[in-house]
Symmetry: D2
Subunit: 442 residues, 4 copies
């Protein structure tokens, strides 16, 4: 079958994004079920293909409390379907293993206690083979449900949620394994044979221009019948001042200018907490940038010079020279904010970003290259209500202490993208494919 198109094909992103906000005649439950039956097979298979060249050892390790083993991702997404769909809505469904609820629950308090997050790497048992058997068991049951014909709109929705959840974990699997491999002094490549795109591929960079928006009252948030997360709703009006948004993301070459200008040694540019990180953690460049003595195993040195040739960058394909024209990634919010200050600009709010995206044309897609830190804290929209039931723990309880990112990265399954999508991470997180797009008051 090859790599599923939905994961890796470089589709014209703008078209996809626009499509998501297009209103359409609502499909029947039966039509939805049929579409889901196809999507389920494609997406669940894509998860396995992403990692099928990784060894059982590779899939077992956990490199920090914030990340998870690949095997855990594979089991957790399966547990999600089993718990929300099969056990609740498939009469006669039998648990694959009743203990898995304890092992593979991520953070759902309503389901009781669970395996401690920082200990996920200790789960050599169940083995990868057993987890694969678990996936097959659940998939068989899901297929039987889906192939039976029309499901209720509630069940259809739960399956759609599970598939979007699986897509989110597809991206996390790539960022988590990248971090784990980086802790290996051999700096191994994940090597993704058959992938049409790699982390490094990139179209030539156009000069950056400022795209002006007039502001005014704009509608923000998801509307229409397509799936969206609860944190994208309700759609509501906001009042924006005029602003300008950069036509493309900040590149590696531009970021090196900031380093060379002493950006990491000058507190003027930094938020107070960010400057604290620079000092306590010794940041001198984005995560994964190294000044490597090639003759040395395990060698990392802190960057002296600040010329782009001084650096090597760890990627999913192993160590690579940085591409000057590629969007800089693996920045914390603090670094994105400091760069913007140094550049005499600022980060956009998530509302500016979304409003601009609606009217965007003639320039590079607004998503695509990297997740883009916004100046907006991850707060609830006016009138926000978490989903009912277990899914209510999906988003709302994380709405403090995090910043919103908009856009998407090469690692984001392309069908997963839309301009109302709100990604969020704590301001110090650097292991995502996170960069920035500049903004300024118009």
């Amino acid at each position: 079958m090859g790599m599923p198109k939905s994961v890796n094909r470089p589709e014209p992103l703008l078209r996809v994004l626009k499509a998501t906000s297009r209103s359409a005649a609502r499909p029947t439950d039966a039509e939805t079920t049929a579409a889901l039956a196809h999507k389920y097979r494609t997406l669940r298979g894509a998860s396995l293909q992403l990692v099928d060249h990784l060894s059982p050892e590779d899939q077992c390790i956990q490199s920090m409390a914030d990340s998870s083993p690949i095997k855990w991702h594979l089991a957790h997404t399966t547990w999600f379907f089993e718990t929300l769909v099969l056990k609740a809505h498939l009469p006669g469904y039998r648990d694959f293993d009743p203990r898995f609820g304890y092992l593979f629950n991520s953070y759902y308090e309503a389901l009781g206690s669970r395996h401690a997050r920082p200990q996920r790497g200790m789960l050599t048992r169940p083995s990868l083979a057993e987890v694969n058997a678990y996936r097959e068991h659940v998939d068989r049951a899901a297929h039987s449900m889906l192939d039976r014909g029309s499901l209720s709109s509630e069940v259809n929705w739960l399956i759609e949620l599970g598939l979007n959840h699986e897509q989110q974990h597809q991206e996390l699997m790539l960022t988590d394994i990248k971090h784990a491999f980086w802790l290996n002094p051999l700096r191994p490549a994940v090597r993704m044979p058959g992938c049409g795109r790699s982390e490094a591929s990139k179209a030539p960079t156009s000069p950056m221009t400022w795209q002006r928006s007039l502001g005014g009252v704009r509608q923000i948030g998801h509307h229409g019948n397509a799936f969206a997360f609860d944190n994208e709703t309700p759609r509501h009006a906001v009042l924006l001042q005029p602003f300008s948004l950069a036509s493309r993301l900040v590149t590696n070459a531009e970021y090196v200018d900031f380093i060379r200008d002493g950006g990491y040694r000058d507190p003027r540019w930094w938020l107070s907490d960010g400057w604290g990180c620079v000092q306590s953690q010794g940041w001198t460049a984005p995560l994964y940038w190294e000044v490597v003595d090639e003759g040395r195993v395990g060698g990392r040195a802190s960057a002296p010079g600040g010329r782009i040739d001084d650096y090597r960058i760890f990627t999913l394909d192993g160590m690579r020279d940085p591409d000057p024209d590629q969007a800089v990634t693996h920045l914390s919010y603090y670094e994105a904010s400091a760069f913007a200050s140094w550049a005499g600009a600022r980060l956009p709010t998530e509302f500016e970003w979304e409003a601009a995206a609606e009217s965007w044309s003639g320039v590079e897609p607004i998503c695509a290259d990297a997740w883009q830190w916004t100046r907006s804290s991850y707060d609830p929209y006016p009138g926000y209500k978490p989903w009912a039931g277990l899914a209510g723990e999906y988003n709302g309880k994380f709405m403090v202490g995090q910043q919103v990112l908009r856009g998407g990265s090469f690692a984001t399954p392309s069908g997963h993208l839309r301009i109302t999508y709100r990604n969020f991470f704590p301001p110090g997180a650097r292991w995502q494919f996170s960069g920035l797009r500049l903004a300024r008051d118009a």
Copy 2:
């Protein structure tokens, strides 16, 4: 002279607040200087009166990295005038001690390195007497400047900034010494003789009612000629949905209902980070609430029952029975948020709060009883520009990872209050006089 009225007199707060937004004929520089000369004497004296019954030992200790010794507050506010006003604008001014710049700089990176914050309690030298001499030295120079007649509008403004800064530290002195005394098993009282008000005094509580607002486009932020911090500007329009705001703050009695209903044991009500705090720090009630075995020194027990009689509360006057009708304080944002969820309501945004305050009448003052956590992260207003120069580090660099509080507390110098004022603390902070006012969608 007695306790200065500006610090403690129970003025009709609403009137004061309203007054701040009233536009008036702009005074001349000379008129401003004359007013400042009076205000300077009053306010600087008030700082000393607040703590004049505390011993040199009391004024030296630091109870946690987030707090500071009283003596350090007294010296730092003095250093602020010396650095921004006297050294920059009084020709011939001589430093009291050139080493004090290192000791009493709080966080101004532009001035170079400084004494480590968690080590402020080690500063037994300079002694309290030397710090008082420092204050007198600086005050003499400031008086000579102010009494000379008209100062430039820039210098007038810097003095006004210094006085507002001093007022902020007056409140912090009370919250910091309260925390330090609480770590003493003897639970001493700060005892504020001569203060017209104490932490415990309170008018009878009216029943809570919901005050409805229609929403729409509202102007937010400071305007007019009176002093305001940069974070209150620029004044700008926001679009609000209809909402309702509670007529008064949540009381101790109401909060005990939450405890008794198992609020601290039920993750449903909590933000994820908040639930983490409950578990890792063993929270079972607000800070300073204790179930005391009176026969035991240093004894604290975790709350069993959840009846208000089970508790004693540590106050600036020592241990006291909680007043059921008083506004609950010493809550973290997490606790305020959890209470609101449990109550079927939510916290207001800072915009809702400010918009309501403008049209508030016939109910208790919207400020006054306690700082009120809002649902709003501490983000910059559209078009926000930090002040130029050193003062630029005052507010802007803290705009991440914090929540906005609105209102004020009994410890806030009353002249310091206005409805556009934005206080901010990290979501886990509990040592301020912080409570909550409920809101809901209308």
Copy 3:
């Protein structure tokens, strides 16, 4: 070939131990080489057999900074032969992979920097298959050396050292994998098929009696031509007071008496640092003892009662009922010391233990059941000189902050035991098979 006898056969230990101190005609270098050729094959094979039923995932994980992954043990012991024997003494030997020196050096500073200890679990690459190929590469070279006939006494000695080193890691592999599996809520069994002995097997317990020694001047430390570690030398005289030593180790049943009597709640019995551990780490029983609610996955409860039936014990064979007559193990030095105080006795010094072992007869072997904490700190013997060269880092640099254990456990390869052997661990370590034997002044 089956399980090698040297690892698991329940030999009459006393005979073995006695034999090691018997002086004999010194063998020629050629005879030694021939014996080593046999021993090398047997022992190196035994390491693999110990773990051949573990999956690559099982062999990759690291459960704490003090332990190491199985795969790392397998590679490190191989690196030890490669570095000390082959690269130094086999002309023309080619490194298997020059990067392995960085990865698999444990703590030899003279060889430069190395992979950080707490990150050993991140080494999914090299894979287990590659590590096995590494072992084969090194073994082929070693075989070719050994089979060539007579090696110099220096090289013979280095090979002997490498084999003793390998045996030490065989024991650590069992204790490390046990700890890692215990962190898995499924509590898997390591399952050692083909092993003649299991952790649980045990001969019936005889009543404890006191074996009296008269003291006086006694010779302590290794003598003769057989291999010993540098820390066992030089043999020297010590002066002992009369003392008595218990005829057998403290049993599970006896230890439960201590628990039931409130041993973990009474500071009288504890060293100050030990009481600190009891409180900060919540110790209520030896490591791996659990009061399990069998219906619950991942469930551990702290022991309420103190009856032996209340407990289940995690073993290499999974969860088991404790055998009342078996020697209690997985005690820290603090617990061993507290038990002895409670019992009105004390721990022996390592000198008393060794002196008694020389004259021991008619009672159970003095080694065998568990490592036995002694009251002796791990200090150098008078006249102690670390080995020359790289091996000098083997023992001497650890001589502070540790306690000596004597004896051996079921996990100790039996040929590895001798009465002059000095094992050592920090006083809080509990993951070894460590118990105690009582002593008292005679």
Copy 4:
């Protein structure tokens, strides 16, 4: 009265030390009581004189968990007399304040819970004046007891214990306030006016020679009727090999040679845990050695050169140039051990040290200049029994994880010294006046 001679007079130490082991006719209880009455007044007064030039603020602060505020020392030593002597043996004695037992108990578990050690600096109340009143209250009662004539031998002994305890705290007061002052960027001097000796005074250094001892069976530990701690008993025989001991301590000049030779950068000389400290804590010289940029407040730089002129040393008299001939102090055990290895020597055992001290003549006193780290772990002597009752917690429960120091320092009250005295600290402790004397096998 002036500074009491027993604290500071530079007596011929050797004579004093020898005297302590001289057996004499046992005095009667009445004679003992009379002597104690005098000693009590002298010693208790000396404690106050040591600190009477320190402000209440100086006496309140605590610089680390291992140290205590001066005021706490003054209260704790008083509590010791109150608890062990007055409440137990003076009928009708009334507590000064029943809450003080909670505040000023150091580590006596048998007396129940107590104020947390790291929070001792929070005790601004009771004030210094109240603590002084506490001392007077207890002293009055003690005087009335002592002046009454003959006390029982048990009570005499308890008073003697209390006075030795007070002397130990006199030394700790100096080391603790030194550490606290060092954390003040102003580097204030404690200034001890009236003290006959200062930290810096020193007789000219003689060349170092080796004093040879033949070893053999030697008696170790206290004997005779004079007071000694339980950890110095029982006197017992040990068997020593021949050894040599250096005639004097290592000097600052000699230690600088070690630094210049790269001693802090070469792992060969270090115990493994010591090397860990060098790296994690950035040690490049003894504690309190600084390469100061004199024009900078609060400035510390790490030592570049390793010439003695590069350094300034913080002392009780403020910053001073190091005296090349003075004994180096403020070393950890790790540094003392590393220096000895570098010098081709070793540290003595405590038994060698004591055996040599008995036969010492013609050289400088063996004590006096600094506490001397020994190679001996702090283990119990054969037959050791802790004292009965509360005093049983004085020494025995600390016998793990510490190293023995012998000798004494300028800060040790001279009447407190004897050659059987065993001081002990963890191997990483550097805030005591701790140096080293070299030893080697003869």
